[in-house]
Symmetry: C2
Subunit: 124 residues, 2 copies
């Protein structure tokens, strides 16, 4: 569920949204299809996504470049999905495009305690 992104810099599209209660099936199918399609786009680096029980969700997708984001935005099937999103599936959303400047990770399963003190791997 974690995106395995490369060393920064790269781009993040932060999509925060509140689902409407309508059409869970249509929404679910399209959401799956969009992840599948996005993963085939040039410059796609990964995606992380969560939805809470109250219908509030955050999806962050990662991209090599602004051009890669523009390419995905222009994809015909994605355009149709976005149109449905505005009209039907989301009560509200915000999309933010951001340039990732630094990143670091921690994973207990990759911890080698013999190499303390630093247990964080910097991707900066």
């Amino acid at each position: 569920m974690f995106a395995n992104t490369p060393k920064p810099p790269y781009y993040a599209v932060i999509f925060t949204n509140q689902r409407a209660a309508t059409d869970p099936e249509g929404y679910g199918l399209t959401a799956e299809r969009m992840v599948e399609l996005a993963a085939q786009q040039p410059g796609f680096l990964g995606v992380e996504s969560v939805r809470g029980a109250d219908g509030f969700g955050i999806t962050v997708s990662y991209w090599e470049s602004e051009a890669a984001i523009a390419g995905w935005k222009a994809h015909a099937e994605h355009q149709i999905a976005r149109e449905n999103g505005r009209g039907r599936w989301y009560r509200a959303f915000t999309t933010r495009v951001a340039k990732v400047e630094r990143a670091y990770s921690f994973d207990t399963e990759r911890l080698d305690t013999s190499t303390a003190p630093s247990e964080e791997s910097s991707q900066q």
Copy 2:
């Protein structure tokens, strides 16, 4: 639950994490306290946070500047919480610091259909 952020540019700290099953009470209290404390920091612009049923979570906090992020990172109580996070509450996490370059929003409750065609408000 949406952060009411100003016009870009500003900064986002994208914290994606997998909770360990341990200590839900201690974690919950500290998580609440951290949101309360962060909101008092100079340069804090807002926060958006979701956790799924599987324990995977995304929290995005928004900041005026790199200096504001550094100030929050240096906060003594936040440092202690982070230490506990690494040792106890999170199985794994990634933190990414990113500069938000553009943003746009959609909200059905703010829609004025008489002013079509654009139903998205750009914050760019």
